[in-house]
């Protein structure tokens, strides 16, 4: 299974501290080519921090984070990020947004236009190439954000709660779109979410994290039938079973954390006194 050529990401005992306060400690995992991994957990569990290390926005203070067997040294087009806020370039057309990475690497205009139109078609934005982001709905903006990352042909696509800002119907449509794109392109995805349903529907594997655990996670495999890109999977018995397991684990770890906090608080006071 862990054939090195198929291994896109490897974290080896990664730790990160803010002002000597550890946020992540000894986090290890690998992600294989073509896999979708969900980082699931409540706010403050460190899932976005972990994603930001992969993106190269943050440097780990311990351990190594590798992408394609090379240490991650900063942001790069091999690890494109889809942002919750879309983060589109308002002053550029959809086409120029999508082709931004190609412009940065000095591709000629004709090539850029060709790729942009192919990517726009892939995400269902054909006919909107000359529109500006502010002329699009929220869902269409995020489609543009997806196409922009896909155009760079990344080793892994990173998504930070990508559909948190759109309405429920649009969110479901975009989730199905992601699965379809994943089947079509075979891309590797690492995404952050606080929705159990989203994690189970999209993820091949789920890393369940919780507050105060410094990034330690419980892993769940999702054995939904292939191809994954089917809306009916939301009612599949495996979907419901995994959803149930994850939910219980989340509740349990939440309660443990709460009890733990209750127990340590007086002890800490004693210590201070």
């Amino acid at each position: 299974m862990s054939d090195n050529a198929a291994e896109v990401l490897r974290f080896d005992r990664v730790g990160l501290s803010y002002d000597d306060r550890p946020v992540l400690q000894d986090v290890s995992f690998t992600v294989q080519r073509g896999e979708t991994v969900a980082l699931l957990g409540p706010s403050g569990c460190g899932k976005t921090t972990l994603l930001n290390i992969v993106a190269g926005f943050l440097q780990p203070s311990a351990g190594v984070a590798l992408c394609n067997n090379r240490e991650i040294a900063g942001p790069g087009p091999d690890r494109g990020v889809v942002f919750q806020s879309y983060a589109l370039f308002d002053w550029m057309t959809v086409e120029d947004n999508i082709a931004f990475s190609l412009r940065c690497s000095g591709q000629p205009r004709r090539e850029r236009r060709e790729v942009a139109s192919r990517m726009a078609a892939l995400v269902g934005l054909s006919g909107f190439e000359k529109s500006y982001p502010y002329q699009l709905s929220g869902g269409m903006r995020q489609r543009c954000g997806l196409a922009r990352v896909l155009a760079a042909n990344p080793s892994v696509m990173l998504m930070d709660e990508p559909f948190a800002a759109v309405d429920v119907q649009t969110r479901e449509a975009l989730q199905e779109e992601i699965l379809r794109i994943q089947v079509a392109t075979g891309c590797t995805i690492l995404f952050v979410t606080h929705s159990i349903d989203e994690a189970v529907f999209l993820g091949h594997r789920i890393f369940l994290m919780n507050k105060g655990r410094m990034g330690a996670f419980e892993e769940f495999a999702v054995g939904l039938p292939k191809p994954r890109a089917q809306a009916e999977h939301r009612l599949h018995v495996e979907f419901l079973a995994v959803r149930d397991r994850v939910y219980r684990a989340l509740r349990k770890s939440h309660e443990d954390h709460a009890n733990h906090a209750d127990l340590t608080a007086p002890a800490a006071q004693e210590h201070a006194a």
Binding site: L88, F89, D90, W91, S101, C104, V149, A152
Partner: protein, 263 residues
């Protein structure tokens, strides 16, 4: 809002924008007509119009009005282009590079409160009373204003947009030119409008530095000889140039910064 409501709102806007100057004009006519003010202090619109006509045909102080306008605009234009280019460049850098900001902070803030009139004696000593002094006097406020607006614009670039640029493979220079600069354009455009208005207002002061031509020269020279209608004619010309250029800059701004306020 419906299209009809938008059209009605637009009409009311245009009506008010037209009525306001005409009511001021009416007030002026009334003030002169009913003798509320002495004529030598405030001549009527007719007298000012006559002065304008006289300058158009005969020139002022033996020089064609168009040369006066042209030499003033050359000063303002040179100072504005140089000042805003440099100011914007330094401002953008100050907004993103801590060391550049630290270097410019105290010098810029020391000079900013000094009125242009206060700089005149120094500039005469340093640069003489020629064109250089006049242009530099206008350059200084243009530079300072555009620097601050560009700095503010560069700082307002959102973290996610910046990171999006980096994660798509933009080099440091590309992040600067393709992301930071365009996202600062709304503030830069506003700064340019303020700076151009200020440049025109400093023009009169700059032409205190001597010389025999320019709109500021007309205003100052006419006031020395109590030719108030010519003073007002010069003021009206400067004001008119200010109005037209501001509308022009605003239109250019709307074209270049079409996304502003639409997010």
């Amino acid at each position: 809002m419906t299209t009809a409501a938008l059209v009605r709102r637009r009409r009311r806007y245009l009506l008010l924008a037209t009525l306001s100057p005409f009511s001021l004009l009416a007030l002026w006519v009334a003030a002169v007509h009913f003798g509320w003010v002495r004529n030598v202090l405030l001549p009527g619109p007719g007298a000012v119009l006559a002065a304008l006509k006289d300058m158009l045909t005969e020139g002022y102080a033996g020089i064609s009005l168009f040369i006066h306008i042209g030499s003033s605009m050359a000063r303002v234009g040179t100072a504005f282009v140089a000042g805003s280019l440099l100011g914007t460049a330094v401002g953008l850098l100050r907004g993103r590079v801590g060391a550049v900001d630290a270097v410019w902070l105290v010098p810029a803030e020391l000079v900013r409160p000094v009125p242009p009139l206060g700089l005149i004696p120094l500039f005469i000593l340093w640069f003489g009373i020629g064109e250089l002094s006049k242009v530099l006097l206008i350059f200084v406020p243009v530079f300072l204003i555009t620097m601050i607006s560009a700095q503010d614009g560069a700082r307002s670039c959102g973290q996610d947009v910046l990171r999006a640029g980096q994660t798509l493979g933009a080099s440091k220079l590309q992040v600067f030119t393709l992301v930071i600069l365009p996202s600062a354009l709304p503030q830069i455009m506003t700064g340019l409008r303020v700076a151009f208005g200020t440049a025109l207002s400093v023009l009169v002061a700059s032409e205190l530095l001597g010389g025999d031509r320019g709109l500021g020269f007309i205003v100052l020279d006419a006031s020395n000889f109590f030719r108030t209608s010519y003073v007002l004619a010069g003021v009206v010309l400067i004001g008119f140039i200010g109005l037209v250029s501001d509308r022009g800059l605003a239109a250019v701004g709307r074209r270049f910064v079409h996304w502003e306020g639409k997010r």
